[in-house]
């Protein structure tokens, strides 16, 4: 390889490094653009279909609020008597939820109220549910963007 080629490669590397550093700095905290923001999903093993919806007050930064979770079996029958554990956090910040939300009521028709949810920062949040009911235990992770 000639001198020209080597300089070209070296300079190319510098340009790439600058671009990568700037790119990292500017976009490290933006949620991935292809994030799946669906509010209804199948659980990992396919045991349940789960839908989440925020309850009053609205889904906004830093208000303590609640969500209603609807759990059905894969073929659409409401799941009663489920035990649901809530977890989550901000994958890009490395921290969990600022509060410990809990299911406080079974509303019937496979619906459950989760109280005590707070998102103190803007950005990408994961909202994870571990569901235990007659059909077995399964997990589902929702992405939320604020």
């Amino acid at each position: 390889m000639g001198l020209k080629g080597r300089i070209g490669i070296a300079l190319g590397a510098v340009v790439l490094a600058v671009a990568a550093a700037v790119g990292y700095m500017m976009f490290a905290m933006a949620p991935p653009s292809d994030l799946d923001l669906a509010r209804s999903k199948k659980t990992a093993k396919g045991l349940y279909a789960v839908e989440i919806a925020p309850e009053n007050p609205a889904f906004e930064r830093n208000t303590l609020h609640s969500w209603v979770v609807t759990v059905t079996t894969a073929d659409g029958a409401p799941v009663e008597g489920a035990e649901i554990a809530v977890d989550g956090g901000m994958p890009q910040h490395g921290h969990g939820l600022p509060t410990a939300p809990q299911v406080t009521a079974a509303l019937g028709d496979g619906r459950y109220r989760i109280e005590g949810v707070r998102f103190n920062m803007s950005g990408w949040w994961e909202f994870k549910l571990h569901i235990k009911a007659a059909a077995g235990e399964d997990d589902v992770t929702f992405n939320l963007s604020l």
Binding site: M26, M29, L64, P98, A100, M121, S122
Partner: protein
Amino acid sequence: MSRLISASEALRRALASIAVTMLVLAAGCSGDEFTDSEKATIASLSLDRLPPLPADPSNRFADDRLAAAFGATLFFEPRLSGHGDVSCSTCHQVDRQFQDGRPLGRAVGLTDRRTMPLAGVAFSPWQFWDGRKDSLWAQALGPLEDAREHAGNRTAYAHFVTASLKDRYERIFGPLPDLAGVPRNAGPLGTAEEKAAWQAIPEAKRAEIDTVFANIGKSIAAFERSIRHEETRFDRFARAIAAGEAPQGDAALDESERLGLKLFIGRANCVTCHAGPRFSDEHFHNTGVPQPPELPEDSGRAAGIPKALADPFNCLGRYSDAKPEQCGELRFVAKDDPLMVRAFKTPSLRGAVSRPPYMHSGQIATIEDVIEHYSSAPKPPKGESELQPLTLSEREKKALVAFLKTLDTGRPLSN
């Protein structure tokens, strides 16, 4: 034209293309232009976006005007102290943003933490650097019985109110209890003598005295709800940006201030924690602030949570006016988050530049040193810091300081 260009020509072209890249980046960072999402973030920080004060269901006098006026009297009343010489305003000085400019609050003795400013404090669900109180009224009871602060006790306060402020108290809260035979000085947190005297009081009478004590707190809280943030240059800038107009007059930020803002809401990530119109997420973070060697080891929020849960004056306690289901903060507090070790409450940055020193025990003397702290992100003495090193240039550091100054009202502090 020859396709063979010399190595030096290649170098020149490559350098030129880097220079162009840098120029583009520099222009992008100069703050001349904000993207739509940056504009939305800027608007979200404006004082115009401050929501109404959250209700405090644990204090049914929170929005009672008579109680607020009574609370103002109590806040500035030195007789509400063990030796008649300390009021809340000894440390929370009205002409200094309700703080004292010292590294550690000092009255009868020296405390372990820096006095916190009080503007907008009612927006915060948790009080103190470690959030060990879940309401303003429960908070106010702390310094009154702390030997380093007011150094008083609750029977003394009940006697004082009965002797000197009976009418005003009773107009709001109804009849004061009969204090005949109640010792002058008694309380569960005082000296050994005071504790013994407190134990000797019948339980029902103790509850009556505690009610008077709680009502003192509820009045002071009602007053504190009126302490507001004032509009700053940044708010006038943000208002124009939100309206899609060009900021005019003092609302127009200069190049350095705009670069600082751009960094604050962008690469420097300040806005992740210093969010919303108060520039605080009202949560707790370990940011690697050093532990002063002369002070007792401070584990911050990790120690504050059990204290809030055990506080007899919390939202779930017998002196609270709330129904249990209204005590969401307490019921859903995350009890075992390892990140809460040496985590402290995110302070509002409004007015911060003009009230050095900084951090929970005044560890950092100047605003420039605060920026150095964020640039280097030192290892925390304990727990895990949430910061990443930022490696800021000198120009960027100056820009961040310039931006923070736009969050000051610009009026000089009197002493």
